[in-house]
């Protein structure tokens, strides 16, 4: 079979957060799964599996109504860290199929592969499909679409059944999209789609039948983009995710860590591990990402960007601690696992502090430290050295420490 005129493959995983949970608990495959809100969010259904939908559950339904409708439903909390980890591993695995892989926006569950030139590696599209399926766990039920552009490939993947490959060639794209609803045009805002429907334009083919200038005049650049897509003009390339160098380390705790001091000690250990790695020698760090699995079964993730590039463990520790000390800086449950990742690696930068500003700031910081020490110990255990008899031949007479009066 000859290679069709296609340039993009889309791997789409419907209901990605739920499939990630199935991957974790394979026995849940085929059972009614419901994703509720995170702690602090509205207690409504955010996502539900087809089995749950068959029982009458739908997104937006209050969680308290789930069990009466479907007693065997499994209600889950969002776990963005685990979802991101699975997505990350998929990206890594798919890089073995194509060098250019683009993840779509979070939670859409779509990944695009640039497949130009891959006909020299795989004899048929089915060969490529096998390679993709080998990279993606079957429990995620990936759907695959090949087309000339990203939108058509995504739509083909969404319309294919699990285990089926849908191929839409460049020639067939306009015909393939024409009967589909304008609601699929994700580049348009909901109010624009509403306007299209009010105007009687219900399908992509209806939009494609209009003159380009009229659509552009009415709906601006997003409208022009939708019109081009409707005509099968695929100009948007697959933008490969930039390869970023990161240094990471992780810890798993037998007893969950609940106190700030214990977590800071763990972070200290992770910083020692990461800053001790040869790849960080003579380099600075701009960002840190903390990911944790909590003892209540949820996960927690924070990414902090430092005000300036840091090249020492102590400086990074202070910066992380100041962030964790902020209100809501700490997760609501103890840590089971903690991973730390240093990002934005660069060359070690020299610092040029101001001559007088730095001195004033330093004094203010010392005064603040003294206040905290006085509050904790009842006195200020800070001293500064003064000359007493610098000319003395007796060493202990030359200098003395006096209490720092700040």
């Amino acid at each position: 079979m000859q290679w069709p005129d296609v340039k993009v493959a889309c791997v789409w995983i419907a209901q990605l957060p739920l499939r990630v949970e199935v991957l974790r608990h394979p026995a849940w495959d085929g059972r009614p799964l419901v994703l509720g809100g995170a702690p602090g969010e509205r207690k409504v259904v955010q996502l539900c599996s087809p089995e749950a939908e068959a029982a009458g559950i739908k997104p937006g339904l209050p969680l308290r109504e789930v069990v009466p409708l479907c007693p065997e439903a499994i209600v889950l909390q969002p776990d963005p860290v685990r979802t991101a980890t699975v997505l990350e591993s998929l990206l890594t695995a798919l890089h073995r199929v194509s060098p250019a892989v683009e993840p779509a926006e979070a939670d859409s569950g779509a990944l695009y592969l640039d497949i130009r030139g891959l006909h020299t590696v795989y004899d048929t599209p089915q060969g490529l499909e096998r390679a993709i399926r080998a990279a993606v766990p079957a429990l995620l039920r990936p759907r695959i679409g090949l087309a000339a552009g990203k939108f058509a490939a995504h739509t083909a993947a969404r319309m294919s059944r699990p285990g089926e490959l849908r191929v839409v060639t460049a020639h067939d794209t306009q015909q393939f999209l024409a009967p589909l609803s304008v609601r699929l045009l994700s580049m348009l805002e909901p109010d624009t789609i509403e306007r299209l429907e009010l105007l009687g334009l219900h399908t992509i083919g209806d939009l494609a039948a209009l003159p380009f200038s009229a659509v552009q005049a009415q709906f601006g650049p997003p409208g022009a983009r939708a019109w081009r897509v409707a005509h099968g003009h695929a100009a948007e390339p697959v933008i490969a995710r930039p390869i970023t160098t990161a240094v990471h380390a992780g810890l798993r705790f037998d007893d969950p860590l609940g106190s700030v001091e214990a977590v800071m000690a763990a972070i200290d250990q992770l910083l020692a591990q990461t800053f001790g790695q040869p790849s960080l020698q003579g380099r600075s760090v701009r960002q840190v990402r903390l990911r944790a699995l909590l003892s209540d079964g949820t996960s927690w993730e924070r990414q902090y960007t430092f005000k300036e590039a840091l090249s020492t463990r102590d400086a990074a520790r202070r910066a992380v601690k100041s962030k964790l000390d902020l209100p809501n800086g700490f997760p609501p449950a103890p840590f089971d696992e903690l991973a730390l990742e240093l990002l934005g690696l660069g060359g070690e930068a020299a610092r040029q502090p101001g001559l007088f500003v730095a001195r004033a700031r330093q004094l203010a910081e010392i005064a603040e430290a003294a206040r905290q020490l006085r509050a904790r110990y009842g006195r200020v255990p800070l001293y500064h050295a003064i000359e007493v008899e610098p000319w003395s031949r007796i060493p202990e007479r030359r200098w003395a420490l006096v209490t720092c009066d700040v």
Binding site: R379, P381, Y383, A385, R393, I394, P395, E396, R397, R398, W399, A400, L401, V402, T403
Partner: protein, 103 residues
């Protein structure tokens, strides 16, 4: 054992109030001697084992405050120990006691 006033002064200096602390205060030192009474090793404060003296690198003497009640008479030695440490020690000739102190 009754301590010489100079040693007592040193201890008092170390235990001064929190308002004033001498810097580079001497710390007591135990010297090991051989059968002839020659100093051959030092036992520093807080260490588990004594160290042998390998060489004397420098030597000087201080005679000061002889006009006061408690004169200062010290023989300073810069000692090279068997673990490679360079230690400055002095023999307080008035109190007949040994101390370590940085230069």
């Amino acid at each position: 054992m009754n301590e010489h006033p100079r040693v007592q002064t040193m201890r008092a200096l170390q235990a001064l109030s929190h308002d004033l602390r001498p810097l580079n205060a001497p710390r007591t030192l135990r010297m090991e001697t051989d059968a002839q009474g020659r100093v051959v090793g030092v036992w520093r404060h807080g260490r588990l084992t004594p160290r042998r003296i390998v060489a004397v690198q420098d030597h000087w003497r201080i005679d000061d405050e002889w006009w006061r009640e408690h004169a200062v008479v010290r023989e300073y030695y810069e000692l090279l120990l068997d673990d490679g440490t360079l230690l400055v020690a002095y023999h307080d000739l008035v109190a007949d006691a040994w101390f370590e102190q940085r230069r």
